[in-house]
């Protein structure tokens, strides 16, 4: 029995692991699996929470376990186990096969996987400042510095909640296609919620940042600067007016463009949701947006919160162009949906087959070993154009500039909503008074067609996306102008 005690550097550990995983996969094949994979993880987490200047708790977490997924007679089975002993893994494989066999009894359309090239690789991370080299005391100091700076800005600031997490570990992946990958994982993430109050007027704001490049993200976001950004936003909200409700021209900042690219468009182009009937199902290969619009989901962006080398099916992450000059040219795929769409495009006209490409994009991601991978976004953004910010504002008699989002959501029918925490009126081509409690909504495709100018700046931020599981993602873009969007507010 092999028990793994630590992620130490012992030389033969990798070989032992490889041997163990391959044996487990072979056992699955012997039991009748036509495809088998095992994804074993060792994860270390440090989490710190502070509230209003007090450290609520410092947490250290250890997780070791495996997710095992197999195909039997065209149906999926999955089992998750804690621990990594040979007995545990073999038992887990046996259960996964049993699960798949049960599901196969009622399968109508058998699941097939697109072919992959077998890969053998070891991916080591070289963080810019390893979070393990920063003591917990130092991390606490940074958070408290941010907190105290924020409170020093104004007496109206009432609360500040900071969550910090670093997640470090190694993932070992083996599949019956002959792939074996050892891949280090490293994430540093922080989120700050703050609120202010003056009498009956409340304001709230948030900031979030994260990186796969290391603790350097805290050097790029010095606590004083984050506090100032947040504090100014809160004070502005206290003085802000509520928006007029109705349809107006809107200029979106990169932060809002990012959530729009992700929520409003991105989900529609996740191949499983497209297949399920999202509004772009019948529009692949066709014009859906203004020719100014190019949307990219990029797994290779350096340091991006959604970046990685191989996805959780062992497929190399790609930079995937989803919309090129307004035309849907690809989707985000995993192996199952690549196979499904390969069949779909066979029946489509020649011109669409020429513009629309079906290939493995590396979008299969699982939150951890407890769950099977799903099609998830990585770093999703709109490509910059050539307008300056001033040019974007020009000619708008009355409209809104939406700078930072609070949250966003979309539906497969193509309606989206993005709540805004920082917004301004645009009056006669200039930024005017601040506006609070506003949100924008509309139909994604109509909105993309109404984009009439794209800025030349570019920014990508970090976020987390929920689709039953949480995924770390990045999103962003330049400033973008839309001729008309619905703004929720006073009538």
């Amino acid at each position: 029995m092999i028990i793994l005690i630590s992620v130490g550097e012992s030389k033969d550990k990798g070989d032992l692991m490889k041997d163990l995983l391959i044996k487990t996969v072979e056992f699955g094949q012997k039991l009748g699996a036509t495809y088998a994979e095992i994804r074993l993880q060792e994860i270390y987490k440090t989490v710190i929470s502070t509230k209003d200047g007090r450290v609520e708790v410092v947490t250290e977490g250890l997780e070791t376990g495996a997710g095992i997924r197999v195909l039997v007679d065209g149906a999926w089975g999955f089992s998750t186990v804690s621990g990594t002993s040979k007995e545990t893994l073999m038992e887990g494989m046996e259960k996964a096969v049993k699960m798949a066999r049960a599901a196969s009894k009622s399968i109508k359309e058998k699941i097939e996987l697109a072919d992959v090239k077998a890969v053998e690789d070891k991916v080591k991370v070289k963080p810019k400042v390893d979070p393990r080299d920063v003591s917990p005391e130092e991390k606490v100091d940074l958070l408290l510095k941010l907190d105290s700076t924020l409170f020093s800005i104004s007496n109206s600031i009432k609360s500040c909640t900071i969550d910090y997490a670093d997640i470090i570990g190694t993932q070992y992946f083996a599949s019956s296609d002959g792939t074996y990958i050892e891949q280090d994982k490293l994430y540093v993430w922080s989120r700050i919620f703050a609120s202010a109050r003056e009498g009956d007027i409340f304001a709230s704001g948030r900031e979030e940042f994260g990186s796969t490049a290391g603790f350097v993200i805290w050097r790029q976001n010095p606590p004083e600067e984050v506090a100032r950004r947040l504090g100014e936003r809160l004070l502005m909200q206290l003085k802000a007016k509520t928006p007029k409700g109705g349809a107006f021209p809107v200029v979106m900042g990169p932060n809002v463009v990012g959530v729009f690219a992700h929520e409003a468009f991105g989900h529609l182009a996740e191949a499983d949701l497209t297949y399920a009937g999202s509004v772009i199902k019948d529009l692949i290969g066709k014009q859906v947006a203004s020719p100014l619009i190019t949307i990219i989901d990029d797994g290779t962006l350096e340091g991006g919160f959604g970046s990685f080398r191989y996805d959780d099916e062992g497929v190399p992450a790609q930079k995937t162009i989803l919309v090129k000059d307004g035309v849907v040219v690809s989707l985000m795929f995993n192996r199952e949906y690549t196979a499904k769409f390969q069949k779909i495009v066979e029946g489509l006209p020649e011109d669409i087959r020429e513009t629309f490409e079906v290939k493995l994009t590396g979008n299969a991601r699982a939150e951890d070993f407890r769950v099977p991978p799903l099609i998830r976004m990585r770093n999703t953004y709109i490509k910059p154009g050539d307008y300056s910010f001033e040019e974007l504002l020009e000619g708008i008699k009355f409209g809104y500039y939406v700078k930072y989002f609070r949250g966003g959501q979309a539906n497969l029918d193509g309606t989206f909503q993005v709540g805004i925490q920082e917004a301004y009126e645009i009056v006669n081509g200039e930024i005017g008074d601040p506006v609070r409690n506003m949100s924008i909504s509309g139909n994604t495709l109509e909105t993309l067609k109404k984009v009439d100018a794209v800025g030349k700046d570019f920014e990508v931020g970090a976020g987390r996306c929920g689709k039953g599981q949480t995924a770390f993602v990045g999103d962003g873009g330049p400033h973008v102008r839309v001729k008309e969007l619905i703004v929720g507010g006073e009538m």
Binding site: K45, K51, D52, R54, V55, V57, V58, T59, E60, G61, L62, E63, T64, W76, G77, F78, T80, S82, G83, K95, K98, A103, K105, S106, K108, S135, P136, E137, K158, I167, W189, S195, R197, I201, F202, A203, S204, G245, A276, G277, D282, R370, F405, Q409, N411, D413, G414, T415, Q417, G419, I420, N437, S439, S441, G442, N443, I486, G488, E490, M491
Partner: protein, 457 residues
């Protein structure tokens, strides 16, 4: 099921005390789940998993640390105890820390455990999923069940602390849910969702399938609406979304103490329509979040929040209660919804409602609809998480949503927004129906609110 969780907890407590902790709490859980998934109109996936772990919270003086691992082996328990103590030492003193909770007598709760759920195998779970799926497919050809499933889960939780708490409880849950869309030519309905869940083996999968299908079909026909102020009926799904980010936060003691609640300082005042009474009922028979104790081993209870429109109380955990020299209301939960970890043993306690219960009125649903000349019925809310939790301001899309004209549900509405303030809306509640059901944390009938601002193009 495992029956040694208390022993493991005691080991964790003694190991941490040995290493310098002044107070220790061990939370241990073991759980198994079995699920069958539906994708694109067929059952194509089944899953099984066992998860277990221990989370140890320690205080070293007034410094608090926490560590966890997904293992219950004695070696790991010792390592977790060690790490919790070192985490506490890296922390800072919290002057408001006044210790872990003391033991109290636990209430008896009913219908939270069913042996029949434990004994179910994957074929039986599949059979239930198949019944749900078939009834959706049979309802109408235009219906596409896009995803859903049936799952059973069961487990045991134990809490041991150095103040003498030693509690253990087992629980079961069965869940069925289906999301559908309907497609007619190029017309696509919004995603419609229905669910039934129960702590004992008593669910109606055919009803879930039929309802999910009916909603999608009825959401196909849409017409434009004029903006304005209308009466709006919210059903359980819509209310649970809207309140999750506004009302339930405003009654949490941490929000109140930190000046983040619009309901701060309003105890005894009229904060809602006098027909509204809300009780957080932690001991509701068979409730989704029912248990005899909370995430700190404190007894669950019924807490009156709003009585005939008057604010009566807030929800407390041990920490916020001790700050006010009172007792916890048993509202410490273990799984944060937005933290970087989402497993119970991996999280420290935070305040959350249990079974947030609206006392029903005597309005029949049909009567409620028939009394509306022009208004809306809202089932789902998009963007509720972008609400302002402090002020209660909301600006969300209502979907799926239907227009009511002259007492009848006429057609669906696409992209209508609701803008306003949830705390103002509470005062304009004009009708509470008698169709109570539990939708996860919320137990409520339909509620009608007057004068709700609808924004549309």
């Amino acid at each position: 099921m495992r029956d040694d969780l208390i022993d493991i907890g005691e080991l964790g407590v003694s190991e941490a005390l040995k290493r310098g902790a002044t107070e220790v709490e061990a939370y241990i859980s073991w759980g198994r789940s079995l699920g069958v998934k539906i994708e694109h109109g067929q059952i194509s996936f089944s899953t099984v998993g066992i998860d277990n772990g221990i989370g140890i919270r320690v205080a070293v003086g007034k410094r608090v640390g926490f560590a966890y691992a997904n293992s219950l082996s004695p070696d790991k328990v010792k390592e977790v105890a060690e790490r919790a103590v070192s985490a506490a030492k890296a922390s800072r003193e919290d002057k408001d820390w006044r210790g872990l909770p003391e033991p109290r007598t636990l209430p008896t709760v009913e219908d939270v455990f069913d042996d029949r759920i434990i004994k179910m195998d994957v074929d039986e779970v599949s059979e239930i999923a198949k019944r749900m799926l078939d009834s959706a497919l049979e309802y109408d050809k235009r219906v596409i069940p896009i995803n859903g499933g049936v799952s059973v889960s069961y487990g045991t939780v134990a809490i041991v602390n150095s103040k003498g708490i030693r509690v253990e409880e087992k629980g079961t849950l069965i869940y069925a849910g289906l999301a559908t869309i309907a497609r007619d030519g190029t017309k696509v309905s919004p995603v419609c969702y229905e669910t039934d869940h129960s702590r004992v083996l008593k669910i109606d999968p055919e009803w879930v399938g039929r309802e999910a299908a009916r909603l999608a079909v009825e959401a196909l026909k849409t017409e434009k609406v004029s903006p304005g102020r209308y009466p709006v009926i919210f059903d359980q799904e819509a209310l649970s979304e809207l309140w999750e980010y506004t009302l339930t936060k405003a009654v949490q003691a941490d929000f109140v103490q930190r000046d983040r609640s619009a309901l701060k300082g309003k105890l005894g005042e009229q904060v809602a329509s006098e027909i509204l009474t809300i009780i957080d009922d932690g001991i509701r028979r068979g409730g989704y979040n029912t248990g005899s104790f909370d995430g700190e081993g404190v007894p669950s209870q019924r807490t009156v929040i709003i009585e005939s429109g008057i604010l009566r109380g807030y929800l407390y955990d041990n920490y916020t209660a001790k700050k006010e020299n009172r007792s916890s209301t048993g509202n410490a939960a273990r799984s944060p919804q937005y933290g970087p970890v989402a497993v119970d043993y991996a999280s420290t306690p935070s305040i959350a409602p249990t079974n947030f219960t609206v006392i029903e009125g005597d309005f029949k649903v049909d009567e409620m609809i028939s009394e509306i000349k022009e208004g809306f019925y809202v089932r789902g809310i998009q963007g509720a998480h972008s609400s302002n939790p402090e002020s209660g301001e909301i600006s969300v899309v209502a979907t799926p949503c239907w227009k009511i004209e002259r007492g009848e549900v006429k057609h669906a509405v696409q992209g209508a927004m609701i803008a306003g303030n949830m705390f103002e809306m509470l005062k304009r509640i004009a009708g509470i129906a008698n169709n109570t059901r539990q939708f996860f944390y919320l137990v409520s009938p339909w509620i009608m609110v007057e004068n709700v601002r609808i924004v549309s193009k």
